[in-house]
Symmetry: C2
Subunit: 186 residues, 2 copies
Amino acid sequence: MTERSAPWKGVARRTLCDARIFTVAERLMTGPHGREAAFTTIEAPDWAVVVPVLEEAGRRRLVMVRQWRHGSGRFSLEFPGGVVEPGEDPAAAALRELREETGYRARSVRALGDLSPNPAIMENRFRVFVAEGLEADGAQDLDEHEFVEVEAMDEDAALAALGSGEGDHALMLSAAFLYLRYRARA
Amino acid sequence: MTERSAPWKGVARRTLCDARIFTVAERLMTGPHGREAAFTTIEAPDWAVVVPVLEEAGRRRLVMVRQWRHGSGRFSLEFPGGVVEPGEDPAAAALRELREETGYRARSVRALGDLSPNPAIMENRFRVFVAEGLEADGAQDLDEHEFVEVEAMDEDAALAALGSGEGDHALMLSAAFLYLRYRARA
């Protein structure tokens, strides 16, 4: 892979709107053809997600969460995760979200990938982790408007549920892709 | 999987901004706790992506594209794809983008998944296809500000490139997850 310089140079940037959880910007750029074009991008905090592995008596389960999602207007089956707070370590954010959403702590966490959720428009990063050595540590700690159901699913069943129905969250499939690669190497 | 009614009911909707390629909305909703909360969502056209399989003399390659992405500010290695135009069949959109970006036509196309690119905020769908029986059919047909490099990569190398570096587009990993499932069943 060759490192190349950016073919587009920034000319100007303006905020189109501040939407609370993200900011929409318009970037005027000059391209390799010497012409200008405007591109819309979204500035948001980084997101972190964690694949939580629960091993008991040789049975390998993944701790999934299910919640209503306002973009799709559907229930969504997901790995725990959320926003990385300013200055927060992404792995710590993943473990914090795991604790808050499921009540589990983890003895170990490992980075599986540092992705872009959608490089065409999103400026933030999507960090993927696997957590092992889970220990139940009390009740959920949810925000006022959060309602999260927890389900420890057999690994095969959890992965099979991704790709259709409630398992239609594309970013969770990308985490599963990295998790399967990790498992194949383990 | 039980079908359940929506726990949140819409109260009001207002447009926060029209950002050309998408619209940002604020939705006021009443939750299962009887309280109101506002959620930001993004209305956009559906997106379609296609895994293009080139088989020659028993060698299986995937036709990848590489382009500069203005959200991440990096080059990105991707499967061909783009926006589904109003009224357009998603499979036809995938094949159109394949033809425009790579110059290949396909004799067959099959749906691998109907996902949400991010159900927390995105209202649109992300459609994933596999195309087989590829035939070269002339030059690229790109938009004025599009610069797309085409590379037919051995299947193993293409999949290995996803997850880091230029292969950091999370939605492409979700397509690869569905493609690997399809291959395992074939």
